[in-house]
């Protein structure tokens, strides 16, 4: 992976000179582990037929959203694609509500009417959850447009993948975001594959962040498997936006361990490639090594966290199984506000 961090001032990326605190590392560890265990459970429930339709797991990419959420303040907004479970957990939405939406139950964030790809939380400023590849990009710019109109310093995090990066509306949004100095961070989660098509098979312009330069938008490529690198780059991008300098692009070099969706046999890549990434770049193992290596935590502490997370996830699965299906009267509610 040819990732580089262009924000070396923190010195945090290799963990050696890190001045990151124990609490901060433990927070990242906990949040990333929650996403991974949650997604593993979702995969299990899908296999049991409790989750239907499309289900896109975020396993492998946890450092991206956890690192960027660490840069946010109250009022900041986020919007993403259909691979959205991790983003919801990271911004503080409840595991119970997310899991119950996956099972299509009344206790879900959309009361069972949205599903895996369509969850929202006004309270947490999470605006979905979008199933049309790339559509969330101008929407994210629009959320930022509203904040700029109102004159506050909120920032919108607009996540999309390397596949969406080839959609025309992404560049329409870039053009207007820079033209109007919108406070939006375009986060390209480049996991190497748009469903089954690798970046190299879909474009010769593989430096995806670089495309923003044509519109005058600064950007950089970041090691998206390193939560500290993500955090450092995110802070610089946020500062740029809050200062009224317009949009910023972060291309997060990351990797998804599972298929595109539950029904993806992933024949387009080798088992060796996946195993190598897990062994050498895993985001959670990286933080675990930092914690243990620097003597900031011991095995027992981490085991206790693992158990807490497991309990939260198991409870969400129970909640999602026990929550009733929506009442049939819900068929005709919420069509209009």
């Amino acid at each position: 992976m040819a990732a580089k961090s262009t924000t070396p001032d923190t010195g945090a990326t290799d963990g050696k000179k890190s001045n990151v605190s124990k609490d901060e590392l433990l927070k990242y560890y906990r949040e990333m582990l929650l996403i991974r265990r949650f997604e593993e459970k979702a995969g299990q429930l899908y296999g049991m037929g409790l989750i239907g339709g499309f289900c896109h797991l975020y396993i492998g990419q946890e450092a991206v959203v956890v690192g960027l959420e660490a840069c946010t303040k109250e009022g900041d907004k986020r919007v993403t694609s259909y691979r959205d479970h991790g983003h919801m957990l990271a911004c503080g939405m409840e595991a119970n509500g997310v899991m119950a939406e996956l099972t299509g139950r009344e206790g879900g964030y959309s009361r069972g009417k949205g599903g895996s790809m369509h969850m929202f939380s006004r309270e947490k400023h999470f605006y979905g959850g979008h199933g049309i590849v790339g559509a969330q990009v101008p929407i994210g710019a629009g959320l930022a447009f509203a904040d700029r109109y109102k004159g506050n310093d909120n920032v919108t995090f607009t996540y999309f993948g390397d596949g969406a990066a080839n959609q025309g509306q992404v560049y329409e949004a870039y053009n207007m975001a820079e033209l109007w100095d919108l406070p939006v961070i375009f986060v390209i989660e480049n996991n190497g594959y748009a469903m089954g098509t690798s970046v190299k098979r879909s474009t010769k312009s593989t430096s995806l962040y670089g495309r923003g330069l044509a519109y005058g938008i600064p950007g950089e490529q970041v090691d998206g498997m390193d939560v500290l690198a993500v955090k450092a780059a995110g802070e610089a991008a946020v500062a740029h936006c809050r200062a009224g300098k317009g949009p910023y692009i972060l291309e997060m070099m990351t990797y998804r361990y599972r298929g595109h969706s539950m029904s993806d046999p992933a024949k387009y890549r080798t088992r060796e490639e996946v195993e190598k990434m897990k062994a050498e770049k895993d985001a959670i193992e990286h933080v675990r090594d930092l914690l243990l290596g620097a003597g900031l935590a011991n095995e027992d502490e981490l085991k206790a966290i693992d158990k807490q997370i497991k309990d939260v996830v198991n409870a969400s699965a129970e909640f999602a199984k026990e929550s009733p299906e929506p009442s049939v009267s819900e068929l005709y509610t919420d069509i209009y506000a």
Binding site: F120, G128, P138, I139, F145, A146, Y149, E172, T333, A337
Partner: protein, 458 residues
């Protein structure tokens, strides 16, 4: 040989204009390509260039004259030493051709004057009896609606192509930039999908955007955001994320602009749950319904018509009035048959009703005004009275609003029908450019008259 310069048509729908200013005087020499006058259309003030060379022999229409018809002689060019009062040469071949085109270009009912249309109805209108009325065009009504709502709510803003500095491609937003500034009247690049997505995001972010599509033909570039982002999200979010946004602009056929610029999207958008769809006919409805649309917490598709922009109607002279959605208006009461229409289709409906009255057939004319949610009750009540129905619209026939109405009437009022419902729609062809073919492709008043006679077995 003297040459008469004729009043030019400066837009596809122009029938007359104001001769704002002469830039030449009698006796001046004029060169080909020289700007000789400023002519004001209902959309803009345009410079008018001379085609022929000569000396200005006589100015035939004084500066400041309004209501000058297209192809009326406005200036006589003569050669040196020629008498300015000499009879002009036979009108050049080109001018004849233009005249013929202009005459045919007008849609079947476009010949009707732009004088205010009277309501022949005892049905109560949407404002109190005795309300003072003023005459205004649909264009002015739309502009007033936006301006009033922008004054009332600082989160209402307008975005689209040429809405600001250009003053609107069809002059609907004229003056709004001056009053509200560039923060609230936002000129966008030509990028429909992008700015529509941005507007949806802005609506979720707490604004009340009005998105102007220069015409609804271009909304196809953005239809994903109208349907998948704006219309469906309230449902998909379990009621958390309504989208207070208005998509408005010219819809349907204008005149002689070809297939890509002449489509009526009423039935397309009306088929989508989560959208509200409005298609006004009169200026009063345009104003009251647009104000209602801007206040509505849902996405509203507001379908206007370029040919209607310059038409005048009586509008209540009230500081603030709205017209509720889902409430049809009975324009004309009748007993023998019901015509249901909306938007520009109402012109054919009302004209047909006038003609049929002369034949002793009493027609009730219903303007749906809102296409979703639709006022079925008013339609069904009328059919229970007249037992006959003709539906009229300019859109394509397949899967049309008329088809939906006919199906609903059959399912809900079959026993009341004395004849099958007839639909009068645009023809099942892409809009042709040729003037004669275009006229045939649209619905005609004659077709509506024939359909009503048919359901009345006359």
């Amino acid at each position: 040989m003297a040459i008469d310069v004729l009043m030019p048509a400066l837009s596809p729908t122009m029938e007359e204009g104001t001769l704002a200013k002469w830039l030449v005087a009698e006796g001046d020499a004029v060169k080909s390509g020289q700007i000789i006058a400023e002519i004001e259309t209902d959309k803009a003030t345009m410079e008018f260039e001379a085609v022929d060379e000569g000396i200005v022999g006589k100015i035939l229409v004084a500066a400041g004259t309004s209501g000058v018809k297209v192809n009326e002689p406005i200036l006589r060019l003569i050669e040196a030493g020629e008498d300015a009062n000499a009879a002009p040469a036979p009108v050049a071949e080109k001018a004849v051709a233009e005249k013929a085109v202009a005459a045919k270009a007008a849609p079947a009912v476009a010949a009707s004057t732009s004088a205010a249309v009277a309501v022949v109805s005892k049905a109560s209108p949407d404002w109190p009896a005795g309300t003072p009325m003023k005459t205004m065009t649909v264009r002015e009504a739309l502009r007033e609606a936006m301006a009033e709502e922008m004054r009332a709510n600082p989160n209402v803003m307008l975005m689209g192509e040429e809405v600001g500095e250009y003053q609107g491609a069809y002059k609907i937003s004229q003056g709004l930039l001056d009053e509200f500034g560039p923060k609230r009247v936002v000129d966008t690049p030509i990028t429909e999908m992008g700015f529509t997505g941005i507007a949806v995001g802005a609506a979720w972010g707490g604004l009340n955007p009005i998105v102007e599509f220069m015409t609804f033909n271009f909304s196809l570039q953005a239809i994903d955001h109208i349907l998948n982002s704006a219309a469906k999200t309230n449902y998909m979010s379990g009621g958390q994320l309504g989208c207070p946004i208005v998509f408005r602009g010219a819809n349907g056929a204008a005149a002689r602009v070809g297939a890509q610029h002449s489509q009526d999207f009423a039935a397309w958008y009306a088929s989508v749950p989560g959208l509200k769809v409005v298609m006004p006919y009169s200026a009063a409805d345009a104003k009251g319904l647009l104000k209602q649309a801007i206040r509505d917490p849902n996405p509203v598709v507001f379908l206007e018509n370029e040919i209607m922009y310059g038409q005048s109607f009586e509008v209540p002279d009230l500081p603030d009035f709205t017209i509720p959605f889902s409430k049809a208006r009975i324009w004309r009461e009748g007993t023998d048959a019901t015509i249901v229409s909306f938007g520009i289709g109402m012109r054919y409906a009302l004209e047909a009703a006038d003609l049929l009255a002369k034949d002793g057939i009493s027609v009730e004319v219903i303007d749906l005004r809102t296409l979703r949610p639709l006022d079925y009750d008013t339609v069904l009540a009328s059919i229970q009275k007249t037992n006959r129905c003709v539906c009229v619209e300019e859109g394509f026939p397949v899967a049309s609003m008329s088809d939906h109405l006919a199906s609903t009437i059959m399912q809900r009022a079959f026993d009341y029908l004395d004849a099958p419902v007839i639909t009068c729609t645009g023809k099942d062809v892409p809009m042709p450019y040729a003037a004669n073919l275009e006229k045939l492709a649209l619905v005609t008043t004659a077709e509506v008259v024939a359909a009503v006679k048919s359901v009345c077995y006359r």
